[in-house]
């Protein structure tokens, strides 16, 4: 607490009365018991989906024709590298969480690697991205520092947020990865505001916000869609439709499952694209980004995939119908895209293998390094609440 200048004037000669500062030790931090998290499980009960992701993809609104507009081999390699990195980090996190060596709420991104990489491929460092708790793919695709992300997930001082934000709130402002929210739908209006700033700046930078299918039920989504369209903001709404919101399949929570179709109600351009196809997604994102850069306003992109894992790192997903999951797993984006690159001769197998082993080594190094890093010291306790930490001391 800071001594008040007014009080000094009014009571001259009397010592300032600031609150006693509280000791740093003796305060408990709660450790989350993973056995408790395990009991967060749903019980098994499969039910038939009312429609499949295949049907949704067939019913596409895509403006681009991937067969005509193929990506360059260099771009395909960039896509693959990004996808591979996302998959490697994601797998490692899940492994650590399940082993109990990482005690955190984490949200797997398996199945989203291609669509996240496709967004990243089309963005410049000055472009901005707002994500959710399921943020790992977005964070890496936007070029965030791997070391800083992993250290953050382990709650270390060298983490992107000094260990204060954690896995659900990854960010790397230095590369335009602005924030990740844990509140469903709450990042969407924030992206609209970043769009306002870009527009006021007269800049051609664009803003992407990612969110799940479930977030389209939140009021803030609808308010933001209208605002972005009304003001013709350079915002791209990327709806990662993995067909589930926690335990609920889309057809059980949405009267209309045509999410891309909702954009029409706001006079906004939209497209639905097969999110398991990174090239198709990249081309669709490119159309949206170019539209936004030209000042022609926002786009709603429905990226259709399927949740290939449990909702969170430890949750079971036996309630997901086996056949739908099996068919979706056949299109698991990383191995599928790898096969496609080899078949099309985009790069020799040896080169792809080289990328794989490079990334594996990078990821190993980042995890080993994070574990060596210190936790934030007590001197960090009251920093970052306000610009001036003295305001907080003693409270």
């Amino acid at each position: 607490m800071v001594a008040s200048a007014r009080a000094r004037e009014r009571y001259p000669g009397r010592p300032a009365r600031t609150s006693r500062q509280r000791g740093a030790d003796g305060h408990r931090t709660i450790d989350c018991d993973t056995t408790t998290l395990e009991s967060y499980e749903p019980t098994v009960r499969a039910y038939a989906p009312q429609h499949s992701w295949e049907q949704m993809v067939t019913n596409t609104l895509s403006e681009t024709d991937p067969t005509r507009n193929a990506l360059s081999p260099a771009d395909m390699l960039r896509l693959y590298r990004s996808m591979r990195l996302i998959a490697a980090v994601d797998q490692r996190i899940n492994q650590e969480v399940r082993a109990g060596t990482l005690n955190a709420a984490t949200y797997p991104v398996r199945g989203l690697e291609g669509s996240c990489a496709a967004v990243g491929l089309n963005l410049r460092p000055v472009d901005q991205l707002v994500s959710t708790y399921r943020n790992l793919g977005d964070a890496l695709a936007k070029g965030s520092s791997l070391d800083a992300l992993v250290a953050e997930i382990y709650g270390r001082l060298t983490g992107a947020s000094k260990g204060k934000g954690g896995a659900m709130h990854l960010q790397d402002q230095s590369v335009g990865f602005v924030t990740s929210t844990g509140i469903v739908g709450s990042g969407i209006p924030i992206a609209v505001g970043l769009g306002v700033a870009a527009q006021l700046d007269g800049s051609d930078r664009v803003v992407v916000t990612t969110f799940g299918d479930g977030a389209t039920s939140i009021g803030a989504f609808h308010e933001s869609m209208n605002l972005a369209s009304l003001w013709r903001l350079p915002v791209i709404f990327v709806c990662q439709n993995n067909q589930w919101g926690e335990h609920t399949p889309i057809a059980e929570y949405a009267a209309s499952t045509d999410l891309a179709g909702r954009a029409a109600a706001y006079a906004m351009a939209s497209a639905r694209v097969d999110g398991f196809d990174p090239i198709a997604t990249a081309l669709e994102v490119r159309v949206a980004v170019e539209r936004a850069r030209r000042g022609e306003g926002p786009t709603f992109l429905e990226v259709v995939t399927y949740r290939l894992t449990g909702h969170s790192g430890v949750s079971d997903y036996s309630y997901v119908p086996k056949d739908a999951l099996a068919r979706a797993l056949e299109r698991d984006p990383v191995p599928t895209f790898r096969r496609r690159m080899v078949e099309q001769g985009v790069a020799p197998v040896a080169e792809i293998e080289e990328i794989d082993s490079q990334i594996a080594a990078e990821v190993d190094a980042a995890f080993s390094k994070a574990l060596e890093e210190p936790f934030p010291p007590p001197s960090e306790r009251f920093t970052d609440v306000f610009a001036d930490e003295r305001l907080v001391q003693g409270l």
Partner: protein, 321 residues
């Protein structure tokens, strides 16, 4: 029986007793039965008409529950984490809490909102104890149990109550708290604190998860020759001032303890009231203990946040020293 099972039992009996009791919230219907399993089996037993799983739409969940209450039902709305009550705050604060008053008594809202405090390890948006917001809003009752048995009895009373009640659970306690919970219908009246441990030197006034911190401290204090009386408020509005003031007038020393932020926390009101009523009898100023004035830090180590038993013990030594 775990607290989860105790809550389930309270809901089950309430639904059986009164067919106007309905449940509304995300994933509350089977097969999920609630993300914490609290509503397990109820949609199977009472149907998805009365146990309604919703989209992710907290404003609509609480708003629709208010509407159903005005329409003659007794809804139990679930907002998964207390942090998400922020999304529905307009409905809770401007409507649920005010409709009876603004209508001159014509529109009571017999609504229960169940919500849950998360964990520091989930990050700053899944760990907040926001009860002071609601205590500061005239017209809504606030209930925070610390044991499985009390969870059942208090939830049953909230559902039967003719006013809106915010019933606050705790993620860790939903699983860790187990007890011999009475089977069948069972209620604990709102507004009655429980003395969880009798003592003569210092009254520790607390509620929710912090009750267990206080009980742990009381063990340690006993070993150090200090006798702590632990008072579990159980309901914060209405608050059992009689028990609080009686206890403190006997011990003449008090600590108020909670996991909510200390600054402007519930303890500020309680401490002020004790000072007003018992100023002459006190041997020392009331000591407040609460969470540090920071968002919940994610780091598992290094950034102290919640008050510990050691803090309570140190406080008790300071007051008696």
């Amino acid at each position: 029986m775990t607290m989860a099972a105790a809550l389930n039992s309270a809901l089950d009996h309430a639904m059986e007793l009164d067919d106007k009791v309905i449940i509304i919230g995300e994933d509350v219907a089977d097969p999920a039965g609630g993300v914490l399993k609290v509503t397990k089996g109820l949609s199977t037993k009472y149907g998805t008409g009365r146990v309604r799983a919703t989209p992710i739409a907290e404003q609509a969940i609480v708003g629709a529950a208010i509407g159903a209450a005005l329409g003659g039902y007794r809804p139990v709305a679930e907002v998964m984490y207390m942090d998400f009550t922020a999304v529905a705050l307009d409905q809770i604060v401007n409507h649920a809490a005010k409709l009876r008053y603004m209508s001159g008594g014509a529109s009571p809202v017999p609504l229960t909102i169940r919500t849950c405090i998360g964990m520091q390890r989930f990050g700053a948006q899944h760990a907040q104890s926001l009860e002071a917001w609601f205590m500061h809003t005239p017209g809504i009752k606030v209930v925070m149990p610390s044991t499985a048995t009390e969870a059942k009895g208090l939830l049953a009373s909230c559902i039967a109550d003719d006013d809106p009640c915010l019933f606050v659970e705790n993620f860790a306690m939903v699983f860790s708290q187990k007890g011999d919970v009475p089977v069948g219908e069972f209620r604990i009246p709102l507004g009655e604190a429980a003395v969880k441990r009798a003592g003569s030197d210092v009254s520790v006034i607390t509620y929710g998860a912090a009750v267990h911190t206080a009980l742990e401290a009381a063990e340690q204090a006993a070993a150090a020759g200090i006798s702590l009386e632990v008072i579990d408020l159980r309901t914060l509005m209405p608050l059992d001032w009689d028990t609080v003031l009686q206890s403190v007038s006997l011990t003449r020393r008090a600590i108020v303890l909670h996991d909510a932020t200390m600054f402007c926390g519930p303890g500020a009101e309680i401490a002020a009231r004790i000072h007003e009523e018992l100023f002459e009898e006190l041997l020392a100023p009331v000591k407040r203990l609460g969470a540090a004035y920071t968002p919940a830090p994610y780091a598992p180590s290094g950034l102290p946040f919640l008050p510990t038993a050691a803090d309570v013990l140190a406080g008790a030594k300071q007051l008696t020293g």
